[in-house]
């Protein structure tokens, strides 16, 4: 079980409060985590990754275990503490005013 913390706007969109808990099949990576997240909450498709290219949107960042994982490759394994649910995977909107 992987814990995901979404930013407020996306919690509202997905109608969730607090953390999201996901069962990810196979190896826990950004791609498998986001695939599972979008399968559970289809309204999030396109909000984190571009529909066409599959790339992370420029103003979306991924943090976990006090590290910035935004630039990690999509198929790189997530930290063990995230994969086991000990630590949450944080989806964060970049600080960009507005």
């Amino acid at each position: 079980m992987i814990r995901v913390v979404l930013p407020g706007h996306l919690r509202t969109l997905a109608h969730v409060a607090g953390e999201v808990e996901l069962d990810v099949q196979g190896r826990a990576t950004q791609r498998s985590l986001l695939d599972a997240l979008e399968a559970r909450y289809p309204m999030l498709r396109g909000t984190l990754r571009d529909h066409v290219t599959g790339k992370r949107r420029p103003f979306v960042r991924f943090f976990a275990c006090e590290q910035d994982l935004s630039q990690e490759l999509p198929d790189a394994p997530l930290p063990e503490a995230v994969a086991t649910g000990a630590e949450p995977f944080l989806v964060v909107g970049a600080i960009a005013g507005g």
Binding site: P7, H9, L10, T12, L13, M43, R45, G46, T47, L48, D50, H51, V52, R57, F59, V60, G93, A94, A96, G98
Partner: protein, 371 residues
């Protein structure tokens, strides 16, 4: 008594305002989609309870929301806007080639007859259509493939397709306008297009009367006279009497012919409205006086409408999609400002009053006349 529902898109959410036919007491709901940019909301002419909204954010991209109950509840529908084929390039601000990239939906235009069919004008400029209530979108690629696409360039606000006009007398005829490419017409329901910019003159492009490159800000049409079009261009207010084949200037005695919105009275096809703005670099009313100008002669002769509008220290703008008219017997005219006010006139512009004063910057205003 019949009533009206006003759909307001703002920089930080959507608001729905309702009133009876007197248009004096307004029930306000919102913000819907708080914190998101709502470029446009519009109801289906075929089913007034069916609304579509364009919701976007610099962080999380584009969403399309749909309501089946007049804006009480909403559901996200499809948000995949994929250009057909390899999109190629358009011109960047400095004239260099720049790849086509989807950014947002500027304008939603529901079909006149089918609540599940809706058109979307997007940035970078293209026209999409959904025939399943917004679940899936397909580009009408003949527009972008018109042949001039590589010469289109963005206006200051981006390269958006912001105007979509469906001809009620001819299901095959569609008009669109793009900043800064110009106006285009299809006579075969969007499959093929031709530029309709003859007569436009724009000093900010190398050839002032080029086929494309004109920064059209808005077009309007009266449904009873679909061959007559009115246009607010970057500078100049224009008119066409031949479905866009040619244009002539009708700026007449306006204090400035720069502006964004233009609209037509619901019952008088030659009565039109604009909001003059000082200039392209000073986007506020001349002399700090917020004045709507009305022509009852289809242009050239304009009168200032000021009653109820601020006549000192007013430095707001009125954006291109932020003016609308209702179709009650005494035509109502509405507009919203970047200062967050939405004004209504229940007497065709003679007098105005604010419906709300302190919304976020208003991006769009639409009105539905309810039975």
């Amino acid at each position: 008594m019949s009533g009206v529902r006003v759909l307001v898109g703002t920089h930080k959410g959507a608001f729905v305002l309702e009133a009876d036919g007197n248009r004096k007491r307004w029930k306000v709901s919102g913000p819907h989609f708080a914190g998101w940019e709502i470029y446009h909301i519009k109801g289906s002419p075929a089913d007034p309870n069916r609304l579509y909204a364009s919701q976007c954010s610099g962080w999380f991209g584009q969403l399309i929301q749909r309501s089946n109950d007049g804006g009480k509840t909403w559901e996200p529908v499809g948000n995949q806007f994929a250009y057909d084929g390899v999109p190629g390039t358009h011109q960047w601000y400095d004239g260099t080639p720049h790849p086509w990239e989807f950014k947002r939906v500027w304008h939603l235009e529901p079909s006149l007859t089918d609540p599940d069919t809706v058109y979307a004008g997007v940035e970078d400029a293209a026209l999409f259509r959904s025939t399943d209530g917004g679940r899936t979108w397909r580009e009408l690629a003949g527009l972008r493939g018109h042949g001039s696409g590589s010469r289109w360039q963005p206006g200051a606000g981006g390269m958006g397709l912001h105007t979509i006009i469906l001809d009620p007398s001819d299901p095959g005829r569609i008009y669109v306008a793009i900043s800064a490419a110009g106006a285009f017409r299809s006579d075969d329901a969007g499959q093929t297009w031709r530029a309709i910019n003859r007569g436009l003159k724009s000093q900010y492009i190398p050839n002032p009367d080029a086929e494309v490159g004109h920064c059209v800000h808005r077009m309007a049409m009266h449904p009873s006279r679909p061959g007559v079009l009115f246009m607010q261009k970057h500078w100049d207010v224009m008119r066409s009497d031949d479905a866009g084949d040619s244009w002539h200037e009708v700026s007449g005695n306006l204090p400035t012919d720069f502006g964004f919105p233009i609209d037509v009275h619901a019952h008088q096809p030659d009565t039109i409205y604009v909001v003059p703005i000082k200039s392209d670099s000073e986007h506020y009313p001349p002399q700090g006086k917020l004045r709507v100008y009305r022509s009852r002669t289809g242009g050239n002769e304009w009168e200032a409408l000021t009653k109820g509008l601020p006549q000192r220290h007013c430095y707001v703008n009125v954006l291109r999609d932020a003016m609308a008219v209702d179709s009650l017997d005494s035509c109502g005219v509405y507009f919203g400002t970047t200062g967050g006010q939405v004004y209504v006139s229940a007497d065709a512009g003679d007098s105005w009053s604010p419906m709300v004063r302190h919304l976020p910057a208003v991006l769009s205003v639409e009105v539905q006349t309810l039975p």
